[in-house]
C-alpha cells in the first residue's frame, strides 16, 4: 500500500481517504469494529465552542439514492471534546482533523486557540457550509468578505493544517480563490446540497426543518463537477467529497483533480467501504501502472468541438 500516500501541506495522508465530517462521530464510537489503518485521518463531527443540542426529530429522510439530513450540528462542545476525545486520539496515532463551527468569528477564533495547543489535533476543517443551522454555517458563505476575514484570523492563530469545507450552494468560485489567498492548505468540496422533501398529506417538511442537506450517491456527479472546477482554478489541493460509494467513484475524483477524498453517507450503508476503496484504488494503480500523483488531475477533456 506504499502507493497510497499523499502529502497535503504538512499533513501526510496514508491512505488519502478519510471519513466526511458528521458521518464518523468523533471516531471513537466505531473502535470496536473499525480498522483505523483504512483511513489517512479522522475528520470529526462539527465541533462548536459550546455544546449544541441540534434540531428536533425527524432529522433524516431517505431520498432516491440519497438522504436529506438536518442534524443541526449536535455536538459536545470543545471542553468535553478535550477531556473525552483527545486521550483516544493519543491512543490510535492517526492524524485528526477537527471540523470546527462557529456562529461568529469570535467563536471560530476561540475554538482554534483552545485546540491549537494539542499535538493530537493535526488540523482544522473550517465549516462554512452547514445548511442546517440558523446562524453561521452556509450563511457565512453568502458574504465572501466575511469568509476572507475568517480564514485570515484562523490562519493567524495556527500553523496546523487548514482546509475549508465549502458549500455547493455558495459562490464557491470566489470562496475558493479567497481560501488560496488567505493561506488555507486545502479546500474540502463539497458539503451537502440544500434540499427538501414534502409530506403531501400534512404539506409539511418530512424533516424538522424546511431544508436539509442532500448526500449520498445521488449527489456524486455534482460533487465531481465542482471538484473539477475548483481544482482547475486554484493551486492548493482539493479534498473531494460527495456521494462516493465505491473505489471507482474515488478514482473518478482523483482524475477530476482531488488530492484526497472523503466518504460520508456510504459508510452508513457499508461499514467496510473504506477498506474496499483503499484496496480497489491500490489494485487500480497497480494495474494501470500509474502513480497516484500522476492520476490526480489527469482528466482528458474532449478535444473535439461541441456540435
Amino acid at each position: 500500500m506504499g502507493r497510497l500516500k499523499v502529502k497535503i501541506g504538512a499533513l501526510l495522508l496514508s491512505p488519502p481517504i478519510m471519513p466526511a465530517s458528521g458521518t464518523f462521530g468523533y471516531g471513537d464510537e466505531v473502535e470496536k469494529f473499525f480498522d483505523y489503518r483504512d483511513i489517512g485521518a479522522i475528520v470529526t463531527k462539527g465541533l462548536s465552542l459550546k455544546s449544541r443540542k441540534g434540531n428536533r426529530m425527524p432529522r433524516i429522510i431517505e431520498t432516491p439514492s440519497g438522504m436529506i439530513n438536518a442534524i443541526g450540528l449536535e455536538n459536545i462542545g470543545v471542553e468535553r471534546f478535550i477531556k473525552e476525545k483527545i486521550p483516544f486520539y493519543r491512543k490510535i496515532k492517526k492524524p485528526v482533523i477537527v471540523n470546527i463551527f462557529g456562529e461568529s468569528l469570535d467563536e471560530f477564533i476561540q475554538i482554534t486557540e483552545k485546540l491549537n495547543e494539542f499535538k493530537e489535533v493535526s488540523g482544522f476543517e473550517i465549516n462554512i457550509s452547514c445548511p442546517n443551522v440558523d446562524k453561521g454555517g452556509v450563511e457565512f458563505s453568502k458574504t465572501p468578505g466575511v469568509v476572507k476575514t475568517l480564514i485570515k484570523e484562523v490562519r493567524k492563530r495556527t500553523k496546523k493544517f487548514i482546509t475549508v469545507k465549502i458549500s455547493p450552494d455558495s459562490d464557491y468560485i470566489s470562496i475558493s480563490r479567497i481560501c488560496e489567498e488567505e493561506g488555507a492548505d486545502a479546500i474540502t468540496a463539497i458539503n451537502t446540497i440544500r434540499a427538501m422533501e414534502i409530506d403531501i398529506q400534512s404539506r409539511t417538511s418530512k424533516i424538522s426543518r424546511t431544508f436539509g442537506g442532500l448526500s449520498g450517491p445521488a449527489i456524486k456527479p455534482i460533487a465531481l463537477r465542482i471538484v473539477y472546477e475548483i481544482s482547475k482554478l486554484v493551486s492548493i489541493p482539493v479534498i473531494g467529497v460527495g456521494g462516493i460509494s465505491s473505489w471507482e467513484d474515488a478514482v473518478q475524483f482523483f482524475i477530476a483533480g482531488a488530492s484526497a477524498i472523503q466518504i460520508g453517507t456510504y459508510f452508513f450503508v457499508n461499514n467496510n467501504i473504506f477498506k474496499e476503496v483503499k484496496s480497489g484504488l491500490d489494485e487500480f494503480l497497480k494495474k494501470e501502472r500509474i502513480s497516484l500523483q500522476n492520476l490526480i488531475g489527469s482528466f482528458k477533456p474532449s478535444i473535439l468541438p461541441d456540435r
Binding site: 469494529f33 441540534g54 425527524p58 433524516i60 431517505e62 438522504m67 449520498g216 459508510f267 452508513f268 461499514n271
Partner: protein
C-alpha cells in the same frame, strides 16, 4: 480482534402471516449472537444496486443458531422489496446492535402495540422458562394479529385488544391494563408508550423507535430527548426506562 458488523446470509423462509406482515428467516454466513431488544440493519436493495440506500433497522424477533428472524410490516419501498424475498436469496445485514432489555424482577408483563411484538418475542423466549409472562397485545384490527402460535414463547396470560373490536376487547391496549407487581416491557407506537406512562406513572422498559441512517452511533439521526439531553436510539437504546425520557419534548 475487531468485531465484524457487516454480515450476509441466505433467506431460509419468508412467511407471509398477514396481508402485509411477514416473518423473514435468514441464515447468517457468519456466527451471530443477539440479546433481547437488539436490532439488525437490513439492506433492502438488490446486490450491486444503491437504492433504497440506507439499511433498515428491525428488532431481532428470534435467533436459533445462525438463523435470524425479523418480523416486519410492509410500509414503504424497503419493506416492499423485503416482502418479495424468496428462499435462497442473498441478503446483507449488519448487527445486532443496541442495548438490551434487563431481566425481570418477578413476573414479566409485556405491553405490545402494533408490530411491537417483534422486539418482545425474543425476550419472551429467553425468560419464559424462569418466569410467567402476561401479554397485553394491542392492534388496530384482527388483520394485524400475529397468531400466538407463531411466537417463540407461551404467555401465561394474555389479553388481545383491537381498536375496532374485530378481535378481543375493543379499545386501546392501555385502556385494559391492570397494574400489578412485576416488570413491565413496552414496545409499539410512541403514543401507546406515552399514554402508558401518563396514565400509570410507573417505570417500565420500552423499546423506542426513530428513523435511523447508520445504526452505529455516528450520524446523530435517531435522537431521543432524555433528562440528560439527546441520546441515540441506536447505541444508547433502543431500550430506555420511561423515567429517563423527557416526555414534554
Amino acid at each position: 480482534m475487531k468485531e465484524i458488523t457487516e454480515k450476509s446470509g441466505r433467506v431460509v423462509e419468508n412467511i407471509k402471516i398477514r396481508e402485509n406482515i411477514f416473518i423473514l428467516k435468514i441464515e447468517s454466513n457468519e456466527k451471530i449472537s443477539a440479546k433481547p431488544g437488539q436490532f439488525v440493519m437490513i439492506r433492502t436493495s438488490r446486490a450491486g444496486t444503491k437504492d433504497p440506500l440506507l439499511k433498515r433497522p428491525f428488532a431481532v424477533f428470534d435467533l436459533e443458531g445462525r438463523v435470524l428472524s425479523v418480523l416486519f410490516k410492509v410500509i414503504g419501498r424497503g419493506t416492499y422489496l423485503m416482502s418479495m424475498l424468496k428462499k435462497g436469496d442473498i441478503i446483507e445485514f449488519a448487527g445486532p446492535f443496541g442495548n438490551s432489555f434487563p431481566l425481570p424482577e418477578g413476573k414479566a408483563i409485556f405491553v405490545s402495540g402494533g408490530s411491537g411484538i417483534a422486539s418482545l418475542n425474543f425476550l419472551g423466549k429467553k425468560i419464559s422458562r424462569k418466569t410467567g409472562i402476561k401479554l397485553y397485545y394491542g392492534i388496530k384490527n384482527s388483520d394485524e394479529a400475529v397468531p400466538l402460535s407463531l411466537l417463540s414463547f407461551k404467555p401465561s396470560e394474555y389479553l388481545i385488544t383491537t381498536e375496532d373490536g374485530s378481535s378481543g376487547k375493543k379499545g386501546l391496549v392501555t385502556d385494559f391494563i391492570k397494574i400489578e407487581k412485576g416488570t413491565y416491557y413496552l414496545a409499539g407506537p410512541l403514543n401507546m408508550i406515552r399514554e402508558f406512562y401518563r396514565k400509570f406513572k410507573i417505570n417500565a422498559y420500552a423499546s423506542m423507535e426513530e428513523r435511523m441512517a447508520c445504526g452505529i452511533g455516528v450520524c446523530m439521526g435517531c435522537g431521543i430527548m432524555t433528562e440528560d439531553g439527546y441520546k441515540r436510539v441506536c447505541v444508547d437504546g433502543p431500550v430506555f426506562s420511561l423515567s429517563q425520557i423527557k416526555w414534554e419534548d
